[in-house]
């Protein structure tokens, strides 16, 4: 009886499809990486609206003010009461005028207010911004697909 002699195979799997998949994944994650996520505090639950459809437009000189449900304001990485917002706003206004050389009226204040915050606090923040010469505001809402 004749037996086959043992042959040692060196396994060289084709790595090309695997590398293709890996690159596809890397590209997917790179594209979905949200660089502006620092502006979005997870502490805030925005009210939802089907009319607040993102337009993709870029706002001119955006300044984000976030208001927690407790009424605490987040601005420039600091937490403060609405009344204490005036001084940082003045500094921001002076920086826009003197450093950037831009008109404050063209700057846009983005208000990200929690859905449970009192409307009076939002109005108070808007009033303080008005007194610091800011004129353009946007109320941010979460887009709810119709």
């Amino acid at each position: 009886m004749r037996f086959r002699s043992r042959i040692s195979f060196s396994s060289n799997p084709d790595m090309t499809p695997l590398i293709d998949c890996v690159f596809q994944l890397v590209i997917f994650f790179l594209l979905t990486l949200n660089f502006s996520s620092d502006e979005q505090s997870e502490l805030i639950r925005l009210p939802s609206s089907e009319l607040a459809k993102p337009t993709g437009g870029v706002l001119e000189t955006p300044i984000t003010i976030q208001i927690l449900s407790s009424g605490i304001v987040l601005f420039g990485g600091d937490q403060m009461t609405p009344g204490a917002l005036k001084e940082p706003l003045r500094r921001e206004r002076d920086a826009i005028r003197n450093v950037l050389g831009q008109n404050v009226k063209n700057a846009t204040i983005i208000i990200r207010a929690d859905q449970d915050v009192s409307t009076g606090i939002v109005q108070e923040v808007i009033r303080l911004c008005q007194e610091t010469d800011f004129e353009r505001f946007v109320l941010r809402a979460k887009w709810e697909r119709p």
Binding site: L18, L51, A113, D116, W143
Partner: protein, 195 residues
């Protein structure tokens, strides 16, 4: 000098792919761990002039604004909706009424010239204001893409004082006139829905 003649054996160059694959997997793990999925966000644009030019010079609207009152319970939930003198049971009813009103008075851009003034209690939760803006400013057409504008001239009435126990915070200036007091904020800020 000895020169090797061509036509020798073909040598297959084997590239070691292992470090590259390692690096790619590390990148994938990094992206998976740092991935934060945020819902898309949109804006309701507001235009607020710093001040009325001078007392009495403010352009008066052709029609007096329609007043929409949003009352709140002490816990901030919606207590009632009132449009003019008429009480509404829901935002859907408000939307219907505004739709009828806007249909009577169309402007050149398709939206109504009617102005609406939102008068909200201090402690009303902000989400109800956005619901009211939704009901008043427009609606999504049947194709679920197009947004039809109804009323773009929406403004807030001056903020109401917080009732006792509602914890409304007073400004640090304690009601004093600011240094820029000559620029009083305009009554009733105009809201333009620009989405």
């Amino acid at each position: 000098m000895k020169i090797e003649k061509g036509g020798g054996e073909f040598k297959k160059i084997e590239v070691n792919m292992t470090p590259m694959i390692d690096a790619c997997f590390l990148l994938i793990i990094f992206f998976i761990l740092t991935l934060k999925l945020f819902s898309p966000e949109g804006d309701f644009g507001i235009t607020m002039p710093l001040a009325s030019p001078r007392q009495g010079l403010r352009p008066t609207p052709e029609l007096p604004p329609v007043k929409v009152r949003l009352a709140a319970h002490p816990d901030g939930n919606l207590a009632g909706i009132q449009m003019g003198q008429r009480k509404m049971s829901s935002f859907a009813e408000l939307h219907k009424q505004v739709h009828e009103l806007a249909g009577l008075d169309r402007g050149p851009a398709g939206s109504s010239n009617t102005e609406v003034e939102l008068d909200c209690d201090y402690n009303l939760k902000f989400k109800y204001v956005v619901d009211a803006l939704n009901a008043i400013s427009g609606y999504v057409a049947n194709d679920k893409q197009t947004i039809i504008r109804m009323i773009e001239k929406i403004r807030f009435a001056p903020p109401r004082e917080p009732k006792e126990g509602e914890g409304g915070e007073k400004s640090e200036e304690g009601g004093e006139k600011s240094e820029e007091g000559e620029k009083k904020s305009e009554e009733g800020s105009e809201v333009k829905d620009k989405v």
